[in-house]
């Protein structure tokens, strides 16, 4: 396997434009002969499917929910970045590019990030044209807020429901194409295998989640936009159904998996209350615009009510340590600091795993009304979950798994190492390096979906002949279907004692303990051993009731957990071999005297992409060297 980034030569400012010009086109009359399979209907998938439908391709789109509108993009709260410079505060495409490369701790591909920043402005135009009701000022122009890792105000938002509104925009464009007959939508269909014929991705095997029927769907190219794999930790801010299955199937068919260990732990989530906990809820980063993070200076004060702790006994630790970015340091930095404070015994709330996010000053300065207008729905959500009123007592927050920067490796065209398999949105590894800045995932998903894949896929399709598309009786198709059926049968027939959730929870504990916010060699080695044992136990003691020929949520879950277990192992291996700290990957052995991440650019200025080599065989690591011509390698500083 060779990792060819396929970044064209030229000046970064005009690279994408040049590339678009140089790419081959499919003529309009021929487009309708091509069939493209899009798995996923989140921002990336819905945008890609709708746009390719508009362009005239036949599109088949899949999601596991009962409607494409329910993809987890719907849950994004805070906002979307764009280099519009409507504030006139010195923003530009170049600055967004710079911030993103730096925020990612110099582990992303410059050319991709530049293109992302360039597309950001078009996304806002597109969304407004679709009727996305972004927040506005009294004069009728668009409003902005600030997000972490930036000193300009470039985040567009729709109350605390930015993801919802952007997804509804894309969903409505998608439904329009469905109405026009260019896109066929398959809801409640789960992709369980990728079909590769003569080295090219030509289709997928899906299970109809209502009837249980296993069927193959064939096309001329496949797009995966299946989201992130944060649920490998069991508890995360992701939706319950978020999974790695589609990506994992592709990995096992030859798509390299890049930087699996890069996971983002979000600093502001509602703390865990007990073992029954099934998911964690994010409190948007936008709250750090106005909320101040603090913990008691002294351990003895932790049991007190926050109001009883005097101003001088409070430690506003982010403001103290990072005076220029203050509460708006990037997520990895904020999370590690919160953990450190709690490790020192200064945490608050149950189990001492929490710090305060306090709005008292903001309420004084802006008035309750203004705070309510900006964050009302988040405050309400907090109160529903905790039964505490954040207008009166500070929120308690703690870091939680939120986003995965790793994913399937893709080149500049967003094509994986399997020709014809394109990957967009959180499912790919591109653009965010070792740490994603807030409000940049929505931007990336839509950039990939609206403005990149529909064009780069044309360049690929121009070299393919729809007449040669494999048919359902092809040996590879039959084999892929048989593999899915056999796997389901195996899961159903173990007849053990433990539920899929039990194994998921156990995996999560191992991952959080040893491959979470801080990692070290000993712990990672231990985790690999523990995961191996868990895998054995899973395949001998799992219980899945019912049959495969009906709606069976336990079977769905079991298949996902099986894949998560294998992914967990790869994440630990990747974390073990990346002997440096960068962004969200913090190896305790590699830190500065002040406890900040210590990169090793001499050895690790690269993306690590893993190639599957078979059951029980160590996967092979391939390296894509990263070069920084524009944003010079430097130690990140937010002080």
């Amino acid at each position: 396997m060779e990792l060819k980034s396929n970044v064209p030569a030229g000046a970064i400012e005009t690279l994408w434009e040049q590339h678009r010009f140089n790419m081959k086109l499919v003529n309009p009359a021929n487009k309708r002969k091509y069939k493209v399979i899009v798995v996923g209907s989140g921002l990336a998938g819905a945008a890609a499917a709708a746009t390719m439908g508009e362009l005239g391709y036949q599109v088949e789109c899949y999601c596991y929910q009962d409607s494409p509108r329910r993809a987890h993009s719907i849950a994004a709260q805070g906002g979307i970045n764009a280099a519009k410079n409507y504030r006139g505060d010195g923003d530009s495409i170049y600055r967004l590019f710079y911030d993103t490369v730096k925020g990612g701790d110099f582990r992303s591909r410059e050319a991709n990030v530049y293109r992302l920043a360039e597309n950001s402005v078009k996304i806002i135009d597109q969304a407004v044209a679709q009727g996305v009701p972004f927040a506005r000022e009294y004069g009728g122009l668009l409003d902005n807020r600030s997000f972490g890792g930036a000193q300009v105000s470039r985040t567009f938002y729709a109350k605390g429901q930015t993801g919802q509104q952007l997804l509804l925009g894309a969903y409505q464009a998608l439904e329009r194409q469905i109405g026009l007959g260019t896109v066929a939508m398959h809801t409640r269909h789960e992709m369980l295998e990728l079909i590769v014929v003569d080295g090219h991705a030509k289709g997928i095997v899906v299970r109809d989640m209502v009837s249980g029927k296993v069927e193959s769907h064939l096309g001329d190219a496949v797009v995966l936009a299946t989201g992130g794999y944060g649920n490998v930790f069991y508890l995360s801010t992701n939706a319950k159904g978020c999974n790695v299955t589609a990506n994992w199937r592709a990995y096992k068919k030859g798509a390299a998996f890049a930087n699996p260990c890069y996971t983002q732990i979000h600093p502001t989530c509602i703390p865990v209350t007990g073992d029954h906990q099934s998911k964690l809820t994010l409190m948007s980063e936008s709250l750090r615009n106005d909320g101040r993070v603090w913990a008691p200076k002294r351990k003895e004060d932790c049991g007190k009510k926050p109001g009883e702790i005097k101003e001088e006994d409070r430690d506003y630790f982010l403001e103290r340590k990072y005076p220029s970015f203050g509460n708006l340091v990037p997520r990895d930095v904020a999370s590690r600091n919160a953990k450190e404070v709690c490790d020192e015994g200064r945490g608050v709330g149950p189990g001492g795993r929490g710090v305060y996010l306090d709005f008292a000053d903001a309420i004084k300065r802006l008035g309750k009304h203004k705070v309510e207008e900006k964050y009302g729905n988040l405050f309400e959500m907090y109160e529903r979950i905790t039964d505490e009123n954040p207008y009166e007592v500070p929120m308690r927050i703690y870091p939680a798994v939120h986003y995965t920067m790793g994913g399937l490796w893709v080149d500049y065209n967003l094509q994986s190492t399997i020709p014809g398999l394109f990957v967009g949105g959180e499912a790919n590894f591109s653009d965010h390096g070792a740490n994603r800045l807030g409000a940049s995932a929505l931007m990336q998903g839509l950039s990939d979906g609206y403005f990149i894949i529909p064009y780069t896929i044309g360049n690929y399709l121009a070299g393919q002949s729809p007449a040669k598309r494999p048919t359902a009786d092809h040996a590879e198709v039959k084999a892929a279907e048989a593999a899915v059926k056999a796997r389901n049968e195996r899961l159903l027939s173990i007849g053990g004692k433990e539920t899929p959730t039990h194994f998921h929870r156990e995996l999560g504990k191992i991952m959080w303990e040893y491959c979470g916010m801080a990692r070290n060699e000993e712990g990672l080695k231990k985790a690999i051993g523990l995961i191996g044992e868990l895998k054995k136990e899973f395949w001998s003691n799992l219980r899945v009731p019912g049959t495969g020929e009906e709606l069976n949520q336990s079977l769905e879950m079991a298949g996902r957990v099986a894949d998560f277990i294998e992914l967990g192992e790869l994440m630990c291996l990747d974390a073990l071999e990346r002997r440096e700290s960068c962004g969200g990957h913090f190896r305790e052995e590699f830190q500065t005297p002040e406890g900040e991440a210590l990169r090793d650019d001499s050895q690790f200025c690269n993306a690590a992409a893993w190639e599957y080599k078979g059951e029980g065989v160590k996967p092979e690591k391939h390296l894509e060297p990263l070069e920084f011509e524009h944003v010079h390698l430097a130690t990140r500083s937010y002080k």
Binding site: T187, M381, T499, T501, P545, Q553
Partner: protein
């Protein structure tokens, strides 16, 4: 401090769309009142699987009140007893020790049961496909600030756009009408300058599709607004009725032929 509750559940069980369904009784014991309603059901399901039974199927995904997937009628009310709260956001502190809780699926002709508490809401998608959008092909948009939108208008559009498409409005309505859902989309787009060009065609096509899907008619009960977890307002229905009337009066087939697309 967290309290523990012992509860009895009466849950609708139905194997598939073709089978007859019925209530079955289950015990839920030692339930912490910090749990969400769905976490309580998770625990019941874990117990059922271990006992060799089949777990209760229910829809859920985000578990934070935004995807619109969760959908249960709890003690006769869609999404349960707490106002403006989806099932997944409902916590057990809304219940008392010893309570009996009746759990049913959404009931409406347009939403057939697929299993237990899981229903088919694809009718909503088809209503949107019929016209619930602004035609704006990718890449052809003018600068986002080219057309200012007065803040009040933008806020009204946003309030209507907050609908999560869960279907509680239909489940709450004695006629199983979808007027609140459909009017929320009509109203969201009608409040924006970008939505004006297709305003009349949109309302006509969406209402026509709504009727085809066998949703009931609206007789102004207002149950939908009370059940809506996102407080989508009845005034949207009034706006839709006005627009629909206008659209019917100005309908000119020779101009509009195929226009809904």
């Amino acid at each position: 401090m967290a309290k523990n509750l012992n509860l009895t559940l009466q849950v609708w069980r139905q194997k598939d769309a073709k089978s007859e369904g019925g209530f079955k009784s289950y015990k839920a014991e030692g339930i912490s009142d910090d749990m969400s309603f769905l976490e309580m059901l998770d625990i019941v399901n874990e117990g059922l699987i271990k006992a060799g039974d089949e777990p209760i199927a229910f829809d859920h995904d985000c578990r934070e009140g935004i995807c619109g997937m969760c959908s249960m009628v709890i003690n006769g009310r869609p999404h349960g007893p707490k106002d403006r709260t989806t099932t997944c956001q409902l916590h057990m502190r809304s219940f008392q020790d010893g309570d009996e809780i009746v759990i049913e699926p959404w009931r409406a002709k347009a939403f057939p049961v697929q299993r237990d508490l899981v229903v088919d809401r694809s009718a909503f998608d088809r209503v949107v496909a019929a016209g619930g959008f602004i035609t704006a092909n990718t890449g052809a948009a003018p600068d986002a600030n080219a057309i200012p939108v007065p803040k009040e208008k933008a806020d009204l559009a946003m309030a209507a756009a907050e609908c999560i498409g869960c279907g509680a409005c239909v489940a709450a309505c004695p006629n199983a009408s979808a007027m609140l859902f459909v009017s929320a989309k009509v109203s969201h787009l009608a409040h924006l300058p970008q939505g004006q060009a297709e305003r009349m065609i949109r309302v006509r096509d969406m209402v026509a599709q709504m009727d085809d899907e066998e949703f009931g008619t609206c007789t102004n009960h207002g149950e939908c607004e009370a059940a809506c977890p996102k407080s989508v307002q009845l005034e949207n229905i009034a706006l839709m009725n006005r627009d629909y009337l206008k659209a019917s009066l100005t309908y000119r087939p020779e101009v509009d032929a195929g226009g809904g697309l």
